[in-house]
Symmetry: C2
Subunit: 218 residues, 2 copies
DNA sequence: CTTTATTTTTAGTTAAGTCTAAAAATAAAG
DNA sequence: CTTTATTTTTAGACTTAACTAAAAATAAAG
């Protein structure tokens, strides 16, 4: 139905729309896709002709309802495949992204229906990101960034903002994964660093770590 | 490593080499891939430059060892995914080909290693076709076509030569699948048709059916 | 409110993979 | 052993999706 390139653009725009608010800039798309702005302009114009995005020259891009639905479906497939890779094939959560980037483009409604059922209709992927339903609707959660948690409060880790292998491996080293309870013992206002407790261990984390970990307060 | 188009050409040549013997003709490749001979010539020349095939103008094409290995690996992936779709997702054996055509191009050694293990390292796919091992080696079986079986002999169905949905659905209707025992009760020399017994049922089959069913004699 | 910097777009190429139409080689028929 | 038919290849064109370089629009600075 849509080409690999088209699906990847829609997905990138979807993610950018959910981060910043309002129109997505050409440069932002180019950067997130590791391509050149001129290539983005080309593709955006094609997507606009197909009514998948609304595009005004020099003003930026927004997904139409149709574009949103397609993007959400690609993301649904990506995240379901990640669950498969981790739950069934015992991959580690830092190994699955690139494989899922390929699997997300497999075309078959029936396949995804059955895969979803096989996996027990999960609501979240291995990084804690919500899996859109058939209609592209995301379950909303009460998650906050760890950096927004006050001293002496407790939270349970529900996801990561960044999911680079480096970051995930850091978390493993510190024994932090989805479901881990974290207590904020101290918070430095100058640089945003924290002392936290995980299990019996207490240790220091930088602001950069704290602003990439999602928790649900307890 | 290789493009989707390249992998599909190598796979097609691999299959054709195993049917007829000797060089594979440009037209044969074109027909099997539903493309034009001129497109085939183009691609074959590229594959020859990459040392994946040996090609002599107007004479035909043969895979090199390297080409054979790549083709066998694509086929390995195709057949493992078919096992996944049937065994784990409960697809029917006539529904899996097109999805596997897409899945066979997913690039990840580790994925296939783990998938193979998850499936219990199967030797055959749902149509009875052998799954090449990591090195591209196919297990040889003692299979014969049902049409080559004599009157009053028994065989167990081990595979199909053709695997079109039409044929597979015919077999389902007749309650024939991999593992089904078949007894040849009668054989007409004029047209090759047969009377066979499957379970408690006895019925007539045409030569066309008999020459597309593989059995192992008991 | 000009000048400068940044962002975005246009114009023109390139590469992969396909196609049609025409030419060349091989095979088959008389 | 020519003529005809078939197969295969070449040449040229098209599409998708990328790129570079230059132009145009917008935003920021003085």
């Amino acid at each position: 139905m849509f080409t690999l390139a088209e699906e990847n653009y829609l997905k990138a725009i979807f993610h950018l729309e959910h981060e910043g608010s309002g129109e997505v800039s050409t440069n932002a798309i180019a950067e997130s896709m590791e391509t050149k702005p001129s290539s983005v302009t080309d593709m955006i114009q094609k997507l606009a002709e197909k009514k998948l995005v609304v595009y005004k020259r020099y003003k930026g891009t927004l997904l139409t309802e149709k574009g949103k639905k397609i993007a959400a479906n690609v993301i649904r497939k990506h995240r379901l495949w990640e669950v498969f890779l981790v739950d069934k094939l015992n991959f580690h959560w830092d190994e699955v992204h690139e494989i899922a980037e390929q699997l997300e483009h497999i075309q078959s409604e029936e396949l995804i229906t059955r895969l979803d059922k096989f996996l027990g209709s999960p609501d979240f992927d291995p990084h804690g990101d919500p899996i859109p339903d058939k209609n592209g609707v995301l379950k909303r959660t009460e998650k906050k960034l760890l950096s927004q948690i006050e001293k002496n409060q407790k939270g349970v880790c529900v996801g990561v903002k960044e999911s680079s292998a480096d970051f995930l491996q850091y978390l493993d080293k510190k024994k932090i994964s989805i479901g881990t309870k974290i207590t904020v013992l101290g918070k430095e206002f100058f640089d945003g660093s924290m002392i936290i407790q995980v299990g019996n261990e207490q240790f220091f984390i930088s602001h950069k770590i704290a602003e990439n970990l999602y928790v649900q307060t307890l």
